[in-house]
């Protein structure tokens, strides 16, 4: 992970249910071969549909196995670069996870998630 370029721009946001405002969610994963995996997020408290994410990458808590899955469609010709990815992967995921938890406490963006995505990350819209 390269956080150098994002200093001062980092924010985090907890997902809230648009109906009841709860932050307790259930992820329902939809698999269909040939299509990207989609995650349908449901509010645990009221059962409402909250949002849908389309999965582009997946990292489990077994990070080396996740890395291997991710590398199955990677074409890289530099051993140095691959070694940096391999050595940094597990560490960077764990570090980023802790960092995000901290950000949620200290630098939470108050905008709704769709406002953040529409404003700053329009490429992520479907």
């Amino acid at each position: 992970m390269d956080r150098d370029d994002s200093q001062g721009q980092e924010r985090a946001r907890l997902e809230h249910c648009p109906e009841c405002g709860s932050v307790e969610m259930r992820n329902n994963l939809y698999f269909c071969r040939g299509q990207r995996i989609r995650v349908y997020v449901q509010c645990i408290r009221c059962g409402e549909f909250v949002t849908r994410y389309t999965l582009r990458g997946y990292t489990s808590n077994k990070s080396y196995e996740s890395l291997l899955r991710g590398l199955r469609d990677t074409r890289l010709t530099s051993g140095k670069r691959m070694l940096r990815i391999v050595e940094g992967f597990g560490k960077s995921v764990a570090e980023e996870y802790r960092h995000v938890l901290e950000l949620v406490k200290t630098k939470q963006d108050d905008r709704r998630i769709e406002e953040i995505i529409e404003g700053d990350y329009p490429d992520s819209l479907e």
């Binding site: 150098d4 721009q9 080396y64 469609d73 990677t74 074409r75 890289l76 010709t77 530099s78 691959m82």
Partner: protein, 455 residues
Amino acid sequence: MKFEIVTPRNTRRILVFAIALLAGFIMTRLQLEGLTDAGRLTLGIFTTAAVLWILEPFPLYVTSFVIVILEVVLLGRPGGPLGLSSTGYSIFLHPFFDSVIVLLLGGFVMATALKRYGLDQRISRAILSRTGTGPRRVLLGMMVTSAFLSMWLSNTATTALMIAVAIPIVSAMEPGEPFRKAIILGIPFASNIGGMGTPIGTPPNAIAIGILAQMGLRLSFIEWMFRSVPIVIVLLIVSWLILCRMFPPRIEHIDLHFKDQGAMGRKPKFILVVFACVVALWLTSGWHGIPSAIVSLMPLVVLFGLRLLRDDDLQDLGWGILFVVGGGMSLGIAMRESGLTEWIVGLLPFQSMGTLGVLIVFAVVAAVMTSFISNSATANLLLPIVVGVSALEPTTAAVAVAIAASAAMVLPVSTPPNAIAYGSGLFKVRDMALAGGMITVVSMPVIAMFIYLFF
């Protein structure tokens, strides 16, 4: 909004870039006997490219574009040292959509489809299910599977797939079992070796074919395989023997259990048919007359046209590698047009060495270089020179160097497959250096002898 572009990392990148440009500039100022102005400028470009490809301040494909910019600015201007017309600079751009780039593109499309529909896993399991349970046979099965897959998929993807298959197997063994290392090391070694087997197996092969084509020498898909597959088989057997010897198994049986993947659906079956047709057409291009590059466009049309692959698959096709190959070929054009290749070759004392000696020297140089820098960069820097050596037939020289550029097994940084395997934490650098070093040392004479005796 505040954007901090010049971060500490970028400062280092800019510094290395400046060093590379300075090194290139110094080379252009040297008074070298027998070298024309165009040759001196090209030597500067070559030096800058070499520094950037060795130190890697940024991805390798960026260097390809630096090469093109320098070529056009220094050599390609109207009335410049090469005497090109106002549109003549396009000779430096043509390699980026050369037939060999299209050939690789088709290979990438097929590989993406095989992965997307789980066919890579099915093929690997189909082969492994026939190996039996003896540890040495399982290792051989793993290595044969890795080598076969990496002839068609990227070496990186093959290693990632096969290590994922191997992890549950080695995890079931005692922690002190030496054969764990044999299995985990055998996969990247076999992937590196298998990549030698086809023109699309690894970028150095494509670079060699592309540079030969620039000289008017055609090497078809099947002609490449006739030369490389015997070497692949011998190196696989040698590597297997070395690993079995260095890490002898204490266990007697390895049980291979795979989850049932269920019956194959219609789409995967269709993909297999397309794959088989494309490979058949690649291998028979000499008979039907359709160039391999044009055959490569067919799966692109079929798979994207029928929406079996998505638009974002096209974006993820490995364009960076195609640009690395294009950059190397573009550098080759500048070196030949400027007379730099001829000048460098004239400096090399090859007259008294004989063909076999020259082949061994180049194979060793390629293997040493590629132990520390990317095999594509090695091929990009060496191939334009070796095809100019008069003691060697260009095709022989190019094939030898391209294959030797994939024979680096010594360090985790030597190739992406080595780095992936190292990430498993199941062996130490020393283990890879010992086993891989032996394989690399044996590979050099094997490659040189095979090419000398049979081609």
